[in-house]
Amino acid sequence: MIYWNSFADFLHMGGYGFYVWGSFGVTALIMAVEPILVARNRKTTIARLKRQLRAESRTPTE
């Protein structure tokens, strides 16, 4: 039971399209970008820690 008669109706949101899609759009954007940023940060952190680990193993400590 779809409430809408047409896709244009759905986009129009009874005249509230700007407000409804402005809300959903920004939310979708944030929920798409946040995991990407977290994953990228993870990659760079792991690369840095690996570099540090290699550097430590090259310089012998007592």
Binding site: Y19, G22, S23, V26, E34, V38, L49, L53
Partner: protein, 248 residues
């Protein structure tokens, strides 16, 4: 009873790290499923609102984001209390991992609230009790992140940040009860445990979206906490073994 299941084992980063890694895809998948179901009910099936027309559909993200912004703060305050009381390592990392997601939820609550307020009240913003206390919540998140980032020693950063979290927790009941305690422009709660003022499809759509936001937050926070663990425990043997292997 030496093989008794021991929950405290998971308080150790070395055991929690792989567990979190296993759980992330499940939480992400469940978030997507709840999101699809919630959007289907809320955006396609639910009828219009007799007062607010289609503009009310902002509720399907506004309420879940607002709930999560408050709930994540409570979870962070819980971890802060545990960390201060028992000096556990993991608790500070958990609070640290949750903060950015909590701040984003508070921002989304304010953003969608502004976009809802404009057509319904005629203004993007009022210095109303509910709106102002939610803005303070956003500032508490930002303050916590700034404070902990400014202190080099992570354990001391956790302690200072934890104190801030515990003091700031007073703001949560203020947000929650603001619509009862003061005369505000913001409407009262649409949902409570005994009765709800919403149509059934609207209510289920909103609850499904709340579950989606909840699972999303858990997945992202677990992703973040794993990186924090590697960083902070980099001198531990398990991290060195992890880094020596083919770490993802």
């Amino acid at each position: 009873m030496k093989d008794r299941f021991n929950l405290y084992r998971f308080a150790s980063p070395a055991t929690f790290y792989p567990l979190a890694g296993t759980l992330i895809p499940y939480f992400a998948a469940i978030a997507v499923l709840f999101g699809i179901a919630g959007l289907y009910l809320g955006m396609l099936v639910a009828p219009t609102d007799f007062q607010q027309g289609e503009g009310y559909r902002i509720i399907f993200i506004h309420v879940p984001a607002s709930w999560m912004s408050m709930f994540i703060y409570l979870v962070m305050a819980f971890w802060a209390a545990i960390g201060l009381a028992f000096n556990t390592r993991l608790s500070g990392m958990m609070a640290q991992a949750l903060a950015p997601t909590g701040a984003l939820m508070a921002f989304l609550s304010l953003w969608t609230g502004a976009l809802w307020g404009k057509p319904m009240w005629g203004t993007w913003w009022v210095w109303d009790a509910r709106l102002t206390s939610e803005l303070i919540l956003l500032f508490l998140y930002i303050g916590y992140m700034a404070l902990t980032a400014a202190i080099d020693d992570p354990r001391r950063a956790d302690k200072a940040g934890g104190l801030l979290l515990l003091v700031g927790v007073v703001n949560i009941p203020i947000i929650y009860f603001s619509v009862k305690w003061w005369n505000t422009l913001h409407q009262g709660s649409s949902v409570n445990l005994t009765k709800s003022s919403m149509a059934t499809t609207m209510l289920y759509g909103m609850l499904l979206m709340a579950m989606c936001f909840w699972m999303y937050s858990i997945a992202v926070a677990l992703m973040r906490v794993r990186t924090i663990m590697l960083e902070r425990e980099r001198n531990a043997d398990w991290v060195k073994a992890e880094l020596a292997g083919d770490v993802q």
